[in-house]
């Protein structure tokens, strides 16, 4: 934690692609165990933001501080080792591996220095139980259904034993009952002490889950507040509906 007790602190972050400014001087923070929402229309810079947090992209200006430590220039795998984990919008399982083996990759790499090696399989099984996969650990991950892939994606991100989980549209394209299933999983892992940054288009899920929400539009931060405040904010409405 840094001096303010913040888990993650992003200050003045700017990211350009050629002449296009994807993020312009954006600052945001995350407290320990917080459930944070990040919303905005398509192309507003949400995914760029989490790419800069997880290390898939590097920002030219501004800083990313995690637990009081500057991580701006660190490659993605180092950030995973420190405790930043992410799931992908389009699930990216290790297709030739079983569900359990998928879990063991983050255990043996991201969490290697933090977890007793003898307990890997037990911990993996425990997380799999959380998403309802306890009896399917030996199944091949290549043939899972869309919703099961999303669950594996979250389970695997959790297997990295993170302090922050960045969930990138884990519910897009799912049915209403499936959305509830995934939300339930996200609530459970938050109870285990993991802070969550949720990027999502399904407003019902964001409003129900998040304690605090940031709104991005065209690379700018346009609002911050509780779900109630965001719902009543005219700027947010304008960004989503257009003038």
């Amino acid at each position: 934690m840094d001096a303010n007790g913040r888990l993650l602190d992003v200050q003045g972050l700017t990211k350009r692609f050629g002449g296009f400014v994807a993020l312009n001087n954006v600052s945001m923070h995350l407290d320990p165990r917080e459930r944070l929402g990040l919303i905005g229309p398509n192309g507003s810079g949400k995914t760029t933001m989490i790419n800069c947090i997880s290390g898939a992209l590097f920002n030219e200006e501004g800083s990313v501080v995690f637990r009081g430590e500057e991580i701006t220039g660190l490659p993605a795998f180092k950030r995973a080792e420190l405790g930043i984990s992410r799931s992908f919008q389009i699930p990216r399982p290790f297709r030739t591996m079983s569900i359990l083996e998928n879990m063991l990759v983050p255990m043996e790499y991201a969490a290697w220095g933090r977890v007793d090696h003898a307990t890997h399989e037990d911990r993996a099984m425990e997380i799999l139980a959380l998403v309802g996969f306890q009896d399917r650990a030996r199944e091949n991950s290549g043939n899972l259904t869309q919703v099961d892939l999303r669950k594996l994606e979250l389970a695997r991100a959790l297997a990295a034993q993170p302090d922050v989980l960045v969930s990138d549209e884990s519910m897009a394209g799912l049915s209403s009952s499936e959305v509830d299933e995934v939300l339930e999983i996200l609530f459970k892992l938050n109870e285990r002490g993991v802070a969550v940054i949720m990027i999502e288009h399904i407003m019902r899920a964001v409003m129900r889950y998040c304690e605090r929400i940031y709104v991005l539009d065209a690379g700018q931060l346009i609002a911050e507040g509780t779900p109630e405040e965001i719902q009543g904010n005219p700027d947010v409405e304008r960004a989503y509906l257009g003038e």
Binding site: A76, F77, F94, E108
Partner: protein, 317 residues
């Protein structure tokens, strides 16, 4: 149990080699055995990168030839013992693997494939121009007529190759079954996801290219002493390049014993076939079998057996 089984197998293979050396008189057996084992090392080497990590090296013949020519150059310079030549050739090829990897592996995998392919051609023209090692005319190596402990020089070369290939197989098995093996497999499956799961992808890829290079150099270093005359054409042989890919592909790339199976099978068939038919036809057959396997049986012979076993198990339920 499984671990000790593997090491018992290694010891048995070694013992079998020595027994063969003791009883067999037919020198052709040692020639053929040497060639098969040379192919086996190349296949195992290729698979450390291509099979485990998913990065294709088309320049196998290049690494092999650099190994051979490093040995020749050092042999001309000072008559060092063969084992020293092998070690140095391994180091040189490992460094070349590391360098090529460093320049290209941060980009998409195909650039590495292209760079290795082009590299083999460039090294061929470099060596053709290098008079110290004989240039295009080639170089002769005089091998001793008698060697201690063995009945003939070729017998010693065979045992040497056997030891080298067992070491390479053991290293490859260790890589695939250790934590690193899982890291390499995660790179093969999805590199972006692997990086986000804490896998230091660039470092693992570079280790993998280096190990591949070392093994190929080790396979190539004794070659001039085996054939006693080497020129760029024989060192950069087409068959070496195609075999190094075909053997793992046919055996199965995902597991350490896949290339071993492929190399023993294909190598033995080739030794029988080259006696009876031309080497061109030989290459044609390898090429056609390679295409058939990658298109129809992507997991190789190992995969075919696994499918067969699963069907039987499910059928028996």
């Amino acid at each position: 149990m499984k671990v000790s089984g593997f090491w018992i197998g290694i010891v048995l293979m070694l013992a079998a080699g020595f027994v063969l050396a003791g009883v067999a008189d037919n020198q052709f057996l040692f020639f053929a055995g040497y060639v098969i084992l040379q192919g086996l090392i190349m296949a195992v080497a290729w698979n450390v990168l291509g099979g485990f990590t998913g990065y294709v090296n088309f320049g196998s013949a290049g690494f092999f030839a650099i190994g051979a020519y490093t040995a020749i150059a050092l042999h001309q310079f000072a008559e060092l013992p063969l084992l020293v030549l092998i070690v140095i050739a391994g180091i040189v090829c490992g460094l070349i693997g590391l360098g090529t990897g460093y320049l290209t592996l941060r980009l998409r995998g195909v650039y590495f494939a292209i760079a290795t392919l082009a590299m083999a051609i460039v090294f061929e023209s470099l060596i053709t121009n290098w008079d110290y090692v004989g240039g295009s005319a080639g170089a002769y190596v005089i091998t001793p007529a008698e060697v201690p402990f063995f009945d003939s020089f070729i017998e010693m070369m065979f045992i040497l190759m056997l030891v080298l290939s067992l070491i390479c197989v053991a290293v490859s098995r260790y890589l695939s079954m250790s934590r690193m093996g899982r890291g390499l497999a995660s790179i093969r499956d999805d590199e972006t996801a692997a990086e986000c799961m804490g896998v230091p992808t660039l470092r693992l890829k570079l280790i993998s290219t280096t190990v591949m290079g070392v093994m190929m150099g080790v396979a190539g270093a004794p070659f001039p002493f085996f054939v006693t005359y080497i020129n760029p054409l024989s060192a950069f042989d087409l068959l070496i390049a195609v075999n190094a890919i075909a053997m793992p592909m046919i055996g199965g790339t995902a597991v350490w014993f896949g290339p071993v199976i492929g190399a023993l099978l294909l190598g033995t068939i080739q030794q029988i076939v080259t006696v009876t038919i031309s080497s061109e036809l030989n290459i044609l057959i390898v090429g056609a079998v390679l295409i058939a396997f990658v298109a129809l049986a992507p997991r190789g012979i190992v995969g075919l057996f696994q499918d067969f076993a699963r069907k039987r198990r499910e059928g028996g339920k």
